[in-house]
Amino acid sequence: MTDVSGWWQPLQESLAASPMLAIALTLGAYACGSWVFHRLGSPIWAPPVLVSAMLLSAVLAVLTIEFRDYRAGAQWLTVLLGPATVALGVPLYQQMHHIRALWRPILCTLPLAATLAAVYAVVIAGLLGATPEVLASLAPKSVTAPIAIGITEQLGGSVPLMMGGLLITGVVATLCVDVLARWLAITDERILGFALGLNGHAIGTARAFELSATAGAFASLGMGLTGVFTAIFLPLAFRWIGL
């Protein structure tokens, strides 16, 4: 106890060998990020996950922890994404009754709109010379994160690049729905909610719940159906095209 460096060195080494440091840092950044997000007045352009991730990156840089080491420890958290993805089936089932109210427009819109959400981005990026790895990372850009991670891994894309694209898509989709709905004079909250969930995944759905509970329910439905449809369609399409 008398020699400070005598216990700090072993502590640092033992923490580096176990995942607890990575888990504690992630939990801490999550708590701080949520607090900052609420202090900022819950802005759409800075979702809590972005605020928390920026904080955590800064902490890793200051403590000179290698991202590779951090990711190895954080695996103990990310492995839970598997059962968490399965858990999304519960709210999807609970929103299913909304399909009855608007089954025809939903069935006509969903396959085409969810396919085009991926096709537009892949075609534009492809024309601008993006590599297959980048295309695979952009394709699931409108899908909710836990499902999108599974899709990107299947397609051979980069999960971090996909996550960045997902965040930007969520924010841009939310702004586009606001602007375009006014331009097209659409006021039906069910349509606005569905468009927010289909294109803007969890970020759009959060915005829809601000509009109304109805918009939020249709956004949840749009997000869930888009996730399932895209997760089945994209890997098969990529395999078929041979990317």
Binding site: A84, A87, I191, A231
Partner: protein
């Protein structure tokens, strides 16, 4: 124990999804297949057990925490994608604008069609 029982159900569906993926050589992730299986079973049963509701709510409420390590990776990409950022930016911005426009247009078109709706009655 209630939450653990629900977690057992979720884990079992995840394992079933993985088994299905390997068995049929599908390129779809085990989690998604498990989710589809779970939704199908719930629709057949028409009810959710308390333990499943508690466990799924618990996991969904910490989703942001679970995806955070992936988002942190964005700041450590370094120069892995140099020269492609223009393509990425334009694809995300223009692609999202187009897909939102498509969705709104399709939904509006199919909702405001009283002639078509009459056939359902």
């Amino acid at each position: 124990m209630v939450m653990l029982r629900g977690f057992l159900v979720l884990s079992a569906f995840f394992v079933a999804g993985e088994a299905l993926r390997l068995l049929l050589a599908l390129p779809i992730s085990g989690g998604v297949l498990g989710m589809v299986l779970l939704t199908a079973v719930l629709m057949l049963r028409g009810a959710i057990s308390d333990s499943l509701a508690v466990a799924s709510q618990g996991l969904i409420s910490v989703l942001v925490l679970l995806i955070m390590p992936g988002v942190v990776g964005v700041f450590f990409l370094g120069d892995a994608f140099d020269g492609q950022w223009l393509a990425v930016g334009v694809a995300l911005a223009a692609g999202t604008l187009l897909s939102v426009l498509t969705t709104l247009w399709l939904m509006q078109r199919f909702t405001n069609d009283p002639q078509e709706a009459k056939h359902d009655d």
